[in-house]
Symmetry: C2
Subunit: 102 residues, 2 copies
């Protein structure tokens, strides 16, 4: 697996983050990661094909919402909480809270 690009904290943009979070599949991923981080892509039960899931993980990564690390054949995902909180204080929390009853 080649090196994955992650945007720097500074280069995160609000509109891109909001867009990344505005898809139900991606929001579900973020919710799961908020509950327990460090999960491999395959451990999410997503209602889409593997290739589509890969696309959604990529959108989240490129928006700076998640971090992906290769770990053997799988890749471990985690929320970029600190970066998001630093750049957009309160945003992630309010989104997670708002998505609770989902």
């Amino acid at each position: 697996m080649r090196a994955l690009h992650h945007p720097s904290r500074k280069s995160l943009t609000l509109t891109q983050v909001l867009y990344a979070l505005s898809d139900p599949v991606r929001l579900a991923i973020v919710k799961h990661l908020a509950e327990d981080g460090g999960k491999a892509c395959g451990t999410f039960c997503l209602p889409v094909a593997k290739s589509t899931a890969s696309h959604h993980f990529r959108v989240l990564r490129e928006a700076g919402v998640i971090e992906m690390q290769s770990e053997g054949t799988q890749c471990i995902n985690s929320l970029r909480r600190e970066d998001l909180d630093a750049r957009f204080p309160g945003l992630l929390d309010s989104v997670l809270r708002a998505s609770d009853p989902l």
Copy 2:
């Protein structure tokens, strides 16, 4: 002007709101309305054609982010702050705050 449909507070969805806010033009509209509400569509200096602006106002309205009221030939816009705060506490504030240095 015919009656404009506004979704009820209950029917607002997080993903729809996030999507509505994820466009730079729409975010600019929301920012302006947060500073001074009750502005007509024409008072916004937007970098798009009239018809395109109309589209963006509509997306915001249908997501439940803004309220539009006919007032003569113009239409007065305002943020649905109470509804948004009730449904998604802290979300609007964090978005507005995050968009400050924009």
